[in-house]
Symmetry: C2
Subunit: 626 residues, 2 copies
C-alpha cells in the first residue's frame, strides 16, 4: 500500500517564504497567524486524494498517504507514522523536521506548537480540510496554553500554488444488482430505518466511498479509488445529491438515479452543484424543528460540521453507511471471490514470468510492476490498480510504502528479496496482496524472519475468536513470534477492504492502535499483513485479504458463537523462504491446506484461461511442505 | 478478588419510596429531580470503600466492588460488569433491573436515562462521589437529549440512611526507608521536578493510595486497603496535608512528617482538617497567577475539580504519583518478593492441611478461608488480608467475586473443584494469588478447561514483548487457547498490584477493555489471572502476581529492548488438573521450571520455618510433569 516516493528532497526555501508571507497577509486573514497547519486530506477527509488536493506534498515534498505539516514563523515540521519514516526523510529538505509518530520522544502536534509558539499565538487551518474531531482536540489543547486556533477560509497553500490542477469530474459508472446485491433504493430505505431508530431527521454523507456505495455509482476522480466528488443530504422524505451537474447528463446515470421518473416521492433525488452543499445544509438547518437531530461523521470537515447548530448536531464515529458497507452481502462476497481468483491468475503468471526473466538481469522494480498491471488488465472487468504497486528489491523493501521511481529503480536479481504489494480494482471487487520472494538462495536470517512473519500471518488467519471481538484484540497474535525473538514491525496488521471501492476502509481493522474500531462481523473483509523490515537490507510482508466467517469450535460459550477468517487471496506463499523447523505441525498443516486451495481454485481458472506456464508454476509452488 | 456476597436479596420497597420522596424534597434541592445517580465510590473514587460510603449497597443490596445505581420516579436500575452478574441478580430484589455491562444489548446509563426520562428532566448526583470525567460525559449526553445533570450537595442516600456509620480515623503507621526505598522528602522532590518539567504550580492529590505512598504512611480506614482518609495539595514551596488532626498527635507520626522540626521550608508540612480541603483549595486558586496551572486527576471528584477555575485546571488521566508508585524500586521489589515467599508458605501449609481434612467432610468455604487467614497471620509483618478471600466450591466458583457467607457456605469435598483467590497485606508487600484444586478425581472436561486456562496463564507470563508495549495488547494471549475451543471469560486478565497498598492499582493492567493504560515498564507489578467459569458448575482461575523484567531475546529491533514477566507468586499449580496432552513442550517446560523455583525458594523457607507437612506437600506437588 503506498504512493509516490520521489527520493530526492523537494527544495522548499522559496515556498516556505511565500507561505509565511501569506500567513501575514491581510488579504487572507484579519490578523497575522503564527502557525499554519496543512493536513493531508481533502474536504472529504479522503486518504487518497486528487492532485488538486495534494497541498501537504506541495509544501514539503513528502507524498505518503498520511502526514500533517505545520509551518510557523521559524519552524516547519511534518508528522507521519512508522510506514513513512524513511521515505519522508528522503523527500523533505532540511527546512523540515520529521516528527516520527509513535515514538515516545516525539511531541504531538499540539505539544510541539505549544513548545515553539510565542505567547498568545494564533494558529490557522483550512476548516474544509481539518476534520471536526481534530479541530476540537487541537483547539482545546491550544486554548489550554493560551493560544487559539482559527479557521482561514482561503487556503494559503492554494494562494501560493501557481499551477494547481483543477478538480476532476470523470464519467460516472452505474452498478447493477448483479454487482451490488442491493439497489440504491434498498440502501436508502435501510439508512432511513437506522435514522428512525435513533430519531434522526437528517444525515449528511461526506465520505466519497460512502456516497459511491449508497448510490451504486462509481467514478475515477481519485486515482486508485473509484469514487467521485459529491456530498449527499438525506432526510426522511428528501434526498439531495451534490455533484458536478454536467456528470448527470448521461442517460444511463439519469435512469439509474431515476432523475426523470422517480418511482416514489421519497426516493426522488434532488441534484445540486457540488459547491452548493454549504448553503443547502444551512437551509436545511434553518428549517429544523426544536428536537430534530442531524447525523454527521465526527471525521467530516470542521466547515460543514459547524454549519449544523450544536443543539441539532449528532456526530458519530462511524456512519450507518460505513457500517452497512463494511458487512458485505452475498453478491459482494461472490464478486470479491471472483476478483481475487482473477487477480491470483495474473500474479501466478507474473511470478512464472519473473522466474524466467530475472536471470537475464532485465527486470526492474518498475518493469515488474508494469508487467503485473499488464497481466491484471487482461482479466475480465479490470478497471485499474487499487493503489500504486509497491515493487521493491532489497533495501527498497524496507521502505514500507515504497513506490519505484526511475531514480530509485533496482533490478531484480537472484541475490535480493523481492517484495510486491499490489492490487487491482475489478468491477466485481477490490484486491490487495503482498508476496515476498527470493529467486535465488535466501540467507538463513532472511528465512528466519520470513518464517516469523508467516507464523504471525497464520496466527491471525487461523484465529478463532468470539463474536463481538474487535480487530485490535487480534493484532498481537501477528507479532508474537517476532516479539519472542526481539523483533517487531511499525505498522498495523490489517485494514478493512472495500468491494470495488477504497482498498482502505473502516470501521474495522487489526491494529495495535486502539482506535474506535467496531467489532468484527461475518461478512466483513480485512487484510492480514504482518511484516518485518531491516532498514538498508530488505523488507518482508505476507498479505492476504480475508473474509470474516462463522467458526464452529468444540464449545459455544454463552451461545455467543465464534468467528474466524477465510482467505480470499489465493496466491502461493514461497516455500523456499520458509524455515520449516520453526513451524509447528498446525502451522505446516495450515500452509499445506492453503496451497491445496490455491491449486484447486486458481488451477481451475488457469486451466480455463489456458495459461500453461503459470499452471506449471502454481503446481510446483503448491507442493506440500514437510 | 471480591467482597461480601449476601445471597438473599435486600428488600428495597420502603427505601426506594423514601429516596423518591427525598428527590422531591426542597430541603435538599430547589426543584424536584427526576433521577438520582448513586455511584459506587467515595469522595476519593476508591474501589474499596469504608462502611459509611457504601451508599450504592445500602440502596440496592448489591455489594460488589463495581456498580452504579440509578433511581428514577418509576424505575431503579443497577449497572455492573460480568464478574458480578450472578451475585447482583441474587442480591437485588425485583424493584431493581440488573444492567449487564459489556453485553451488546445493554443500554449505557446515559442511553437508559434518555429512554426512560420524561422531557426536560433533571438528574441529580452527589458531586463528591462522581468523578469529574464521568460528570462531564454524563452531563454532555443528558444535555444532548434536553435533560440536565445537577449537583445535589446533600447526599440523598445519607438523608435516608438512619444508622449510617461514622468515617473511620485509624492509627497511622510510619514506614521507614527499609520498606519504602525512598523518603517522603525524596518523593516530594521527584514530584516537584515532574511539576516543574510541565510548568505546573500545584498538584492536588485525592487518591488515598497515592497520598499514603507519597508520605510513606499507612492507615486502616478501609478494610483490606492500608490507606487513610486524606487529601494533599503540593506547591513548589508548600505541602498541605488534610487529615483528621487527632491522628497527627502521635510522636512517631509527628517526627516522621517532621511536623515540629522541618528540615527545609519547602519540606515543611502544613496540616489542616480533612474537611477543609475545599476551602483551602479555593484559597489556593484565588491566589493563582494568570498562567499558573493546577494538576488534578481527571478521576478526582467533580466537586473538588470544579473548585479549580477551568483556565487553571490541568486534568490528567494518571498523576505523577500514580506513575511513580507503579514502578517499584529495588527495596519495594525485594519486599514484594519476601511477602510472596511468606504467603506461599502459608498456602502450602493450607493445601497440605486441606488434603488431610477434606475427606473428613468438616472443611467449608468459610473455615478454609479462615484457616488461610490464620496461617498467613503467623507470618512476619502480617497486617491483614488484601481483599475478602474468594473461597468457593463447585458452582460458587462460577461467581467470579464470590465471598462465602453462612447461607451459601459449601463443604469442600472430593467431588467438586475448589477455587481460592486470596491475598494479604504484609508490611513489606501485598499478595494476591488464585489456585484451583481438585481433591478427588477431576473430570476430563474440568481438566480440559483448566488446561486452556493454564495455557493462557503461561502465554502471558512467558510473553516477550517490546519495551513500550501496553498491557492490553497482551490480553488476547491469555484467551487464545480458550477461544480456539469456543470458550472465554468475562473479566480482564490482570491488574496492577501495590506494595503494601491497594491490591488493585493503576495505571497498568492487562485487559480487553482499551482503557488508557500506560506502557508496561520494568519494575511494574501486575497480576496474570485468566479463568473459565461454567455457571452452576464450577470456576477455574490461575493467578500469579508477576514482575515486569527486561528480557534478552536473540535480536534487539531498533534497540528498543524487550520485557517479560517474572512470577512473584510461587505456589504450585495442581498438576492433577492438567491434561498434559494439550500442552506444548514449551508449556510443559514452563510448568516444570516454575515448579522448580517454587520448590527451591519456598522449600528453603519451609525448611527454615520447620513446616514439615507443607514441605512434603510442596515436594510432591512440584514433581516434573512428563
Amino acid at each position: 500500500m503506498g504512493s509516490d516516493a520521489a527520493m530526492s528532497p523537494k527544495i522548499t526555501v522559496e515556498l516556505l517564504r511565500q507561505l509565511r508571507q501569506a500567513m501575514r497577509n491581510t488579504k487572507y486573514i484579519a490578523e497575522p497567524i503564527q502557525a499554519y497547519i496543512v493536513p493531508s486530506g481533502d474536504a472529504h477527509q479522503s486518504e487518497y486524494i486528487a492532485p488538486c488536493d495534494c497541498r501537504r506534498e506541495f509544501i514539503c515534498g513528502f507524498n505518503g498517504s498520511a502526514g500533517t505539516a505545520i509551518v510557523t514563523e521559524k519552524h516547519a515540521a511534518m508528522w507521519t507514522d512508522g510506514r513513512y519514516f524513511l521515505q519522508a526523510s528522503q523527500q523533505m529538505d532540511n527546512n523540515w523536521t520529521l516528527m516520527k509518530m509513535g515514538l515516545k520522544e516525539t511531541l504531538s502536534q499540539e505539544d510541539w506548537l505549544i513548545s515553539v509558539l510565542p505567547e498568545n499565538s494564533t494558529v490557522g487551518v483550512d476548516p474544509w480540510i481539518i476534520a471536526a474531531d481534530q479541530w476540537k482536540n487541537m483547539s482545546k489543547a491550544l486554548a489550554s496554553a493560551g493560544h487559539s486556533l482559527v479557521a482561514v477560509q482561503d487556503n494559503l497553500i492554494d494562494a501560493i500554488w501557481m499551477d494547481r490542477p483543477t478538480r476532476p469530474s470523470t464519467q460516472l459508472l452505474t452498478l447493477g444488482l448483479g454487482f451490488t446485491g442491493l439497489t440504491w433504493q434498498d440502501k436508502m430505505t435501510a439508512l432511513r430505518s437506522k435514522m428512525a431508530e435513533r430519531k434522526i431527521s437528517w444525515f449528511v454523507a461526506t465520505a466519497l466511498d460512502e456516497i459511491a456505495w449508497l448510490f451504486n455509482l462509481r467514478g475515477s476522480d481519485i486515482e486508485y479509488n473509484p469514487v467521485f466528488f459529491a456530498y449527499a443530504i438525506v432526510g426522511m422524505n428528501t434526498i439531495r445529491l451534490f455533484v458536478d451537474i454536467k456528470r448527470l447528463a448521461v442517460p444511463t446515470v439519469r435512469e439509474h438515479l431515476q432523475l426523470d421518473t422517480p418511482s416514489k416521492v421519497e426516493l426522488s433525488i434532488q441534484t445540486a452543484p457540488y459547491e452548493s452543499v454549504f448553503t443547502e445544509l444551512q437551509a436545511v438547518c434553518a428549517s429544523l424543528g426544536p428536537k430534530e437531530k442531524v447525523w454527521i461523521s465526527d471525521k467530516a470537515s470542521c466547515a460543514l460540521t459547524q454549519v449544523i447548530p450544536k443543539a441539532h448536531r449528532s456526530p458519530i464515529p462511524y456512519t450507518p453507511l460505513c457500517l452497512a458497507k463494511a458487512v458485505k452481502n452475498a453478491t459482494e462476497i461472490q464478486g470479491m471471490k471472483m476478483a481475487h481468483i482473477k487477480d491470483a491468475v495474473a500474479l501466478c503468471e507474473l511470478f512464472a514470468w519473473l522466474e524466467k526473466e530475472i536471470p537475464k538481469g532485465t527486470v526492474t522494480e518498475i518493469s515488474a510492476a508494469d508487467k503485473a498491471e499488464e497481466l491484471r488488465s487482461q482479466q475480465k472487468d479490470f478497471v485499474g490498480l487499487s493503489f500504486p504497486s509497491i515493487s521493491s528489491v532489497g533495501p527498497n523493501g524496507a521502505i514500507i510504502h515504497y513506490r519505484p521511481l526511475p531514480e530509485t529503480n533496482r533490478t531484480l536479481s537472484l541475490n535480493e528479496i523481492y517484495l510486491l504489494d499490489s492490487g487491482a480494482q475489478y468491477i466485481d471487487g477490490t484486491t490487495d496482496v503482498t508476496r515476498t520472494m527470493h529467486f535465488g538462495s535466501p540467507s538463513a536470517y532472511e528465512k528466519e524472519t520470513f518464517t516469523y512473519v508467516l507464523k504471525g500471518h497464520i496466527a491471525v488467519s487461523a484465529a478463532i475468536f468470539p463474536n463481538g471481538t474487535k480487530g485490535h484484540l487480534l493484532d498481537s497474535f501477528a507479532r508474537q513470534a517476532l516479539w519472542e525473538s526481539g523483533l517487531d514491525y511499525l505498522h498495523g496488521t490489517g485494514h478493512g477492504v472495500g468491494c470495488f471501492l477504497n482498498v482502505h476502509e473502516g470501521p474495522c481493522g487489526i491494529s495495535y492502535k486502539t482506535f474506535a474500531d467496531e467489532p468484527l462481523e461475518a461478512g466483513m473483509i480485512v487484510s492480514d499483513e504482518p511484516g518485518y523490515y531491516e532498514d538498508g537490507l530488505f523488507g518482508i510482508r505476507i498479505e492476504n485479504v480475508v473474509l470474516v466467517v462463522p467458526a464452529k469450535p468444540k464449545y459455544n460459550y454463552r451461545n455467543k458463537g465464534s468467528l474466524t477468517f477465510e482467505p480470499l487471496t489465493l496466491v502461493p506463499i514461497q516455500a523456499k523462504m520458509v524455515n520449516t523447523d520453526l513451524l509447528t505441525q498446525k502451522e505446516r498443516d495450515w500452509v499445506n491446506e492453503y496451497h491445496r486451495q490455491c491449486r484447486e481454485t486458481i488451477g481451475a481458472e488457469l486451466e480455463r484461461q489456458g495459461r500453461k506456464e503459470a499452471m506449471d508454476w502454481l503446481i510446483r509452488e503448491t507442493q506440500p511442505i514437510a
